[in-house]
Each structure stands twice: as structure tokens, then as C-alpha cells.
Symmetry: C2
Amino acid sequence: MDKKVREDVHTTGVPTLCQACDARHRGVCGALNTNQLVTLSKHSVRRKLDPGTELVGEEQDVSQYSNVIGGVVKLTKMLSDGRQQIVGLQFAPDFLGRPFSRSSRFSAEAATDVELCSFSKGLIDRMIDESPDLEHKLLEQTLKELDEARDWMLTLGRKTAAEKVASFLHLIAVNVDPEASESEGPITFDLPLTRADIADFLGLTIETVSRQLTKLRKDGVIHIENNRHITVPDIERLNDRASL
Amino acid sequence: MDKKVREDVHTTGVPTLCQACDARHRGVCGALNTNQLVTLSKHSVRRKLDPGTELVGEEQDVSQYSNVIGGVVKLTKMLSDGRQQIVGLQFAPDFLGRPFSRSSRFSAEAATDVELCSFSKGLIDRMIDESPDLEHKLLEQTLKELDEARDWMLTLGRKTAAEKVASFLHLIAVNVDPEASESEGPITFDLPLTRADIADFLGLTIETVSRQLTKLRKDGVIHIENNRHITVPDIERLNDRASL
DNA sequence: GGGCGGCGTTGATCCGTATCAATCGGCCCG
DNA sequence: CGGGCCGATTGATACGGATCAACGCCGCCC
């Protein structure tokens, strides 16, 4: 579809939904036509969530889809005895929601401050029916998530604690600042997750995560400030630790 | 599309491609129109593979898609030092292939005797462009695989060896004989994987897999004949062991 | 028939990560 | 200012699964 047309939509007083959504061309809105955009904009809500806010519970019915505008959303599954595993992290501008299924198989929770653009599921489902572009976009995002999930299965099943933590840092570096991680030179970023979340993502305990982080720090692979702020002087050394 | 039409295709001398593909409505062929079916049938090859045959290598270019007609295909990823992880199992009538990407991110290998129906990637990619139904089918299969991958991440990250093995048996039971696992009474099936493959799927060693299987046998949860043939007298007891 | 190789089981030991416990620092609130 | 809470770190110990090693079973081929 034509970029100019979509700009017109926004400049004629329609809410700012899609300026954010397709900022990096992965939100659903890039695949909609003008009419659909206008309709969607009228029925969408922009909202901010505090860390820990639950968006959808496991097995719970879902009536909303969302685009992640900012922050990180964690997708978690839990066993009956409380053991927990994070099965995915959604960064801006990921799409959040499971087409063709009424209930969610995991819970979605804000890991950081999160900014969302939410809209009714039924509306999008109807648009999917009439718009192949939208379905194509969804297929691409789903395939990407599947690739990521499978990559992570290798990490969960076969890597040591040290490699897992290094892999995690690499993943965060790539996702919070894709440009910086491409170029040369030191990379710095803030961890969007607590130690407990990192442990749940890696299938480890908080103590092991903490120990491995201090080991990386003592070995000079990373610098840590205020528990959250990370500097990686040489990304290659980190990748070696991650067995990438 | 109309069932009668498709039957006509087959009864008028066109190869049997799609009788198998849409047997359980998950192959791609169920979403094609008559013209596409005829074209595809002309350009498709049915073939049998021995266990261990590699279909696609990791990072290798893919020029073929396939439907799995029978047997089990394992998708594996490997680290540079040889550690291996199975990231997915494909049963009939799953679709095998990664749209929108020229190279595969994992290798695909026959775990058992496998029967396939293969066709050129370019042909299907063109049909995807012109047929929303096909894309819809692919999206559904991809979503299903994503759900399965995320379920397995919980198993890999948070379950004990005993729970992993029980979870694996449950998964196989459900996939090789979906009907039997729904109804009451004992379930029996053949393991499609060697102990080494099971270990690679579960992120364990063969020794641990073996020990956990004998433990389940000694506890009367399963019976084993000839290393491969399994009987589960009471599926509930197995599920308990799997923490399902 | 006998040897051999692949697959699986079982035993002894080791090591990595979990568990339990204590402490620290920052932050909020009384 | 002091107390209490939460997240993180660090230390001591326990334990589950990996590793190393030996052996059994079975089919295949010389």
C-alpha cells in the first residue's frame, strides 16, 4: 500500500495508532488499507502498563490484540507447583495475540514499563478474512517467533549456565538496539528483566544467574552499573561465551 | 473449496498427491483450487526415505517443500562442538518447509521410515501469492508449531529428567494415535525415535533416558517390548509423572 | 558358526547447578 | 532517622544428571 495515503490518514485527525505500529514495519498496521486503518484507529486504545501488570492469564480468553509500542512483554507458562518458564519476549513493534484461538496458552505480563496499542480481536479477525496482506504479515511474524523459539530450545536443552547467560545478554543487545549491535565498538543497554525473570527465561535459579553475571564481569566481558545497566566492550567475546 | 471437485481431480487420472495430504486436513493441499491441484500434482514427487536420511542441512538452501505422508521427521540444531537438540518433530500430515526464507535454520532428517510428497518451493510460493486460503493454512500450521515449541520450552527449562521422559511418551502417544489417546483404556504405540534421539529431544543423555524408562517400567507406568514397543495401561498415571 | 558393530542397559563416580542461608544496598514509609 | 521490604550477591552444602566404563542383546556378514 501507498505510504502517502497512510500519512494522510494521520494528518486528517485520526489517532496516532499506526505511526508507531509500522515504525519498523512489523506491526500489523502496515498491511491495512485506508478504510481499515480508519476503522481500527477509531476502535483502538493506547495504554501504558506498569511492570508486573498481567495482560492475559494462562488459559484465559482473549478479546484483545495489541501492538507493543515500547517496553518488553514476557510470555510465561507455569506448572501446577509454581515452576515457571518464560517462553517468549515481545519487543516493539511486535504483535501480541493468537489468531484463531479464543484462549491463550500462556500468560502475558509487562516486564518493564510497557506502552501498548490495543484493539478488539473480532475487528482484526474480520480484517484478516478480507485482507490477505494482513494474514501475510501475521504469517511472517509467526514464522519469526517460531524461529526464535527453536533457537531458544537449543539454548535451554544443551547449553551450560554460563552459555545461557551470555546468550541472553546477546539476545537483549540485539533486540533493544539492533543498529548498535550491527556496528563496531562497545554496546550498552539496560536489562529489561529482573534476575528472577532472567532465571525463568533461562531455566536457571536467580543465584546461578547472579553468579554467572559476576563471573562475566570479573572476566571483563561485561561491565555492570546499578544492576541493570550493561556495557559490552567487545561483542565477539560475549558471543564466544554464548557458543554462538 | 468443494470436496466433490477435488475427488474429480483424483478420479480423472491425476496423481494421488492430495488424497494423502488432506487426510486429516492439515496438509497444504486442502487449500488449493482445482487448477492449482492439477499443476501441483504434475510437479510433485512421492518418495520414501530410510531412517537417518537428511532432507535439508542446517543453513542449507531449500528448494523443496514436502508433506509428510507417513513416518516421523526430526528437526535438529547443532552447536559447533557437536551438542545437538531436536527442536521439532513432524508427523503426518504436517507440512515441511519454511516460506519466505531461502535457507533453513535447522536440519531435517528422517527419524523413521518416512514417506514424503515433495514439490518445488517456487511453485508453492507462487500459489501462496495468489491463494489466500493456502496462506491461511500455513498460518494455522505455523501457529500450531509455535504452540508446540513453547510447550516444549517449559519441559526443557523446568522439568526433571523423569518428567521429561514421561512428557515425551505422552507427546508420542498423542501424535501417533490421536484417537486412542482420547478414549479410555490402555494405549500402545512404537517409539519412532532411538534413545539417542529421545535424549536430543529432551536435553538429556542416553543413559539418563534409559534409566528413567526402566524406572517407569519398574513402577508399572509403562510396559516395554523389544525396546521400542510401549504399552501405557493408564494414561492418567503417565500424565501425573509428566506433571501435565 | 563366530566375530563384529550398533543400540540399549546398568553401575560407579564426578561435577554443575539447586538449595538453603546470610548479608548487602536501595527505597518507601512511618 | 529507623524499620522493613525487595532485589541482588555471596557462601556452604546437597543432589540430580553427566560422564566414564563395562556388559548384554541382536542382526549382519565373513
